[in-house]
């Protein structure tokens, strides 16, 4: 089978995408994947929403409760599902899935590892053959930027936007960050600026949101202290919205603002880039973007962009 690798420049629409769903995004912000589907459907992008896909187990791996063999075996199955479907451009809505799948692909390049894992997959009649490429949904949105801007009913004109890219996108495969540098990624900024948004810079731009997975499970006060540092830095620039590309970062940055409301002088709603773009394209704010799941009220932002 030949693979049709995506060209991640805003020149042609990507096709034959394998939508890789996220546990965290699907749990806390179902609007992330609904919005991404809305965008793909709006542009008639051919994608496969495979019900057989399993969790990438990234959360469990980073907490130290899922062993690498189990992680590798399950993701070899996931990658084989994508390869067998013919939709070999795997698009993750979650940076942890993105990094985890890419790490698994790297591990599976070792002949001995691949043979051992394929021996496991034999029992369920799969074989990992490679031939699959992994992307993050934000990269695909960037690739579709020109079409998205053309199809947008609304703009971000006059709005101040702060972005947070997520460590598992920028700091694991740091040489593969497609816009900006890993220390200063601009992927989300470049998408938002296309819709006439004004990007704001902030001092803790490179800092983790605080989630850290094992930190969150073992010591949520650590998550709180890092998250607060991050939020204070962002909110000092008075953004109208904080844009992320990660369900876990979004959970932390959104809900921590609610938790620390008394410590913060102001708050800002948090949206995933897919939710924001879908809203600009005319998606239903409750059924598609599901903004009602936000801890910090999104309504003031929606009024500013004339959605309501």
């Amino acid at each position: 089978m030949t693979t049709d690798t995506l060209i991640l420049t805003p020149s042609k629409l990507p096709q034959r995408l394998y939508l890789f769903k996220s546990c965290v995004a699907g749990t806390f912000y179902p609007g992330i994947e609904r919005s991404f589907r809305f965008i793909l459907n709006s542009l008639n992008v051919d994608y496969f929403d495979d019900p057989n896909q399993s969790s990438c187990t990234g959360f469990g791996v980073h907490c130290g409760v899922v062993p690498p063999e189990a992680n590798l075996s399950l993701n070899a199955r996931n990658l084989a599902l994508a390869y067998n479907s013919g939709y070999t451009n795997v698009v993750c809505t979650c940076p942890t899935s993105y990094a985890n799948l890419k790490e698994c692909i790297n591990e599976l390049q070792n002949e001995n590892t691949r043979a051992a894992i394929n021996d496991v997959l034999k029992a369920v009649k799969y074989e990992y053959k490679g031939g699959v490429t992994v992307y993050h949904a934000a990269e695909v949105l960037y690739a579709m930027k020109e079409s998205l801007i053309k199809g947008a009913r609304l703009s971000l004109s006059g709005l101040k936007i702060a972005t947070h890219h997520g460590c598992h996108y920028t700091k694991v495969f740091y040489e593969e960050v497609i816009r900006g540098l890993w220390e200063y990624p601009t992927l989300l900024d470049d998408i938002c600026s296309g819709f006439s948004g004004t990007l704001v810079d902030y001092s803790e731009r490179s800092l983790c949101c605080g989630m850290g997975f094992s930190h969150f499970v073992r010591s949520s006060d650590y998550t709180g202290s890092i998250g607060l540092l991050k939020l204070e830095s962002i909110l000092a620039e008075e953004p109208d919205v904080i844009v992320t590309m990660c369900g876990a970062c979004q959970t932390v940055l959104d809900h921590l603002q609610k938790r620390f409301k008394k410590k913060l002088e102001r708050v800002a709603p948090v949206l995933n880039i897919s939710q924001l773009v879908a809203i600009l394209l005319g998606a239903n704010i409750t059924k598609d973007a599901c903004v009602q799941f936000a801890a910090i009220d999104v309504l003031p932002l929606l009024k500013k962009i004339n959605v309501v």
Partner: protein
């Protein structure tokens, strides 16, 4: 949080997810389990209500719709990879 206190299994909410950590001797605060890390951050009742309005499965993982064949494959893989006490602990 009293991070040094090791989970004793009494008085704290049982967590299958964290059992492998306990088995490795990792200290997890009983307070964290009583409150729940997620409960501290997210209002789970609100989340459950919102999910119900959208006809989405509830947060109890056993309610999540997984194709029977896919689940059988996942279980077989984990069992084959000498993981009955490892990966299988986490597939709920």
């Amino acid at each position: 949080l009293v991070r040094a206190a090791k989970f004793s299994g009494t008085g704290a909410k049982s967590s299958k997810f964290l059992e492998p950590l306990f088995n490795k001797g990792v200290a997890v605060s009983p307070e964290l389990l009583n409150e729940g890390a997620l409960d501290q951050l997210v209002t789970l009742n609100k989340l459950s209500a919102l999910r119900a309005e959208l006809d989405l499965p509830q947060l109890d993982a056993k309610d999540i719709a997984i194709l029977a064949q896919a689940m059988a494959e996942i279980r077989t893989i984990l069992t084959n990879k000498d993981a009955p006490k490892r990966g299988l602990d986490n597939d709920y």
